[in-house]
Symmetry: C2
């Protein structure tokens, strides 16, 4: 009942119409681990530079995240700078400095190799493949990727997907990966690459889950105040996989609940900059928002 997360830990500088932050804690693995930590034990594999302050490591430990796989090497931590307009759906990247992340070779501590559930966050698909060579017999492997790898390392990505059960991807990337504008057909094409389950993230519009048992459409929570969408997709993935890892029930009803749980976590995350809103949630808040999703999506059967 533990989740292994491999990805990036970074400093983000983000500007939205509602404010800005500089060198705030970010990175796919950070959002994923923090979000998942509300549901299950999490082991983190990532790399940071010698400029990474102890307070961030202590925060991760406070969330009971196992950081033995968080490598610290000489140099600077990965930095990303981006800006959002009033249409908060897409970030404009202003600057990317890979720094120590450029030579990241994920190496799993011995204690991590029996992980039940593995989340390969958005990194080079060849590195994702190498991680899978290091885990012994995972029960579920999930992968996230992005347009950069789809266009630049498509063959590597397809090779890695052959060992993956569950793909997280956004709608534009699903179309790009499969060259298929229709999402139903795109999901079926992705099934043929390996993943039996495809989770298509649609930003402010919600999520489509394609599973052998059928299609599930999850709404996004209509928030009155969205401050910063950075990390929403990873926070979603963390809630989803953390919830699944907590019970090891991978049935379709469980996947649907996991989709909502991911959406719940993402809905909190966008309410503040960086990880601020999901640093210290009360589990009751999480359950209450799950119930609000239930009300949001509810409609009656037709009267007989």
């Amino acid at each position: 009942m533990s989740l292994l997360v491999v990805g990036s830990v970074a400093f983000d500088s983000v500007k939205t119409p509602f404010g800005e932050v500089e060198d705030a804690l970010g990175g796919s693995a950070t959002y994923l681990s923090t979000s998942a930590s509300y549901f299950t034990d999490v082991s983190l594999v990532a790399v940071v530079g010698d400029d990474f302050p102890d307070k961030h490591v202590n925060f991760l430990k406070m969330r009971k995240i196992d950081v033995r796989g968080l490598e610290r090497v000489p140099g600077k931590t990965f930095r990303w700078k981006g800006q959002y307009g009033f249409d908060l759906n897409e970030a404009r990247t202003l600057d990317t400095q890979l720094n120590v992340f450029e030579s990241f070779k994920p190496k799993l501590p011995e204690e991590y190799k029996d992980a039940d559930v593995v989340f390969l966050a958005n990194i080079d698909p060849d590195l994702q493949y190498d991680v899978l060579d290091q885990v012994r017999s995972p029960k579920l492997v999930a992968l996230d990727t992005m347009n950069f790898w789809i266009s630049g390392k498509r063959d590597s990505l397809i090779r890695t997907l052959g060992r993956v059960d569950l793909l997280f991807i956004n709608d534009a990337e699903a179309r790009q990966l499969t060259n298929e504008p229709n999402l139903v057909k795109a999901a079926r094409a992705i099934n043929s690459y390996g993943p039996g389950t495809v989770v298509i993230k649609q930003g402010e519009y919600g999520v489509l889950l394609f599973h052998s048992g059928g299609v599930f459409s999850a709404p996004a929570y209509p928030l009155e105040s969205v401050f910063d969408p950075t990390g929403a997709g990873d926070t979603f993935g963390g809630g989803f996989m953390g919830y699944l890892a907590s019970t090891l029930d991978f049935s379709e009803p469980a996947m649907r609940r996991a989709t909502i749980m991911g959406s719940v976590m993402a809905s909190f995350n966008v309410e503040d900059f960086s990880l601020n809103r999901i640093r210290d949630l009360d589990y009751k808040e999480i359950e209450n928002r799950y119930r609000e999703f239930k009300r949001l999506a509810h409609f009656d059967d037709l009267p007989a």
Copy 2:
């Protein structure tokens, strides 16, 4: 228990990546009336030219639509020509010929003036206002509009909205009308103009219903084959309002069911060009697809 529909009847020439049609039956009032006719009696007010063939009038009569308000005048019928790319969400208008529609002054036959439910489809907001002067005491008035009127006749539109209960609008138009990027705030601004209920259409992403009882998020049906999205919004509105008019139950649960019923009808409409798919549906097909929406959106409560 009848629905009055005022809008356009037109000939559409449409090209999509999957085929094309020329001078096919179209127009907002046509889609609305046909879709609504599966649920309630419909009275139609629109104008056509002397080139409008009897076969189309006979089709409307076959659907038991009251066409006494369908004016026929010398000249040519309204024509629209548009094209869709693989992204079927937005049409590129190639040509618009208003023709007889340019001097359309809706005049309600005496028998229409007691209509319970009124749908003012997308026409000049001053004409929509005039229609409301002609109906005696409608129980529910709905209005649809578009960017053209929002930018060109905003004051007229706001004046008309003061007499409207329910606004159908897409997300970009809701933002344009209220100058508010956040849809929750946009819906609240629209409430302040008059309509207590706001239905925000999001194309392939579904629909948001803002009602005093809360927010409802309805999914769109993920179709494997979408041939022509023309008229999807009007078909949605027709199913929604036809369903409401059939029971005159305007409670929040009824509005939620109506949202799904509209989505059901729209999901059929996009499966073929023009009105072809909704010309002669079996009511069982409609009920079955409603059930499929139920499965699409279902997720369980959290285990206790």
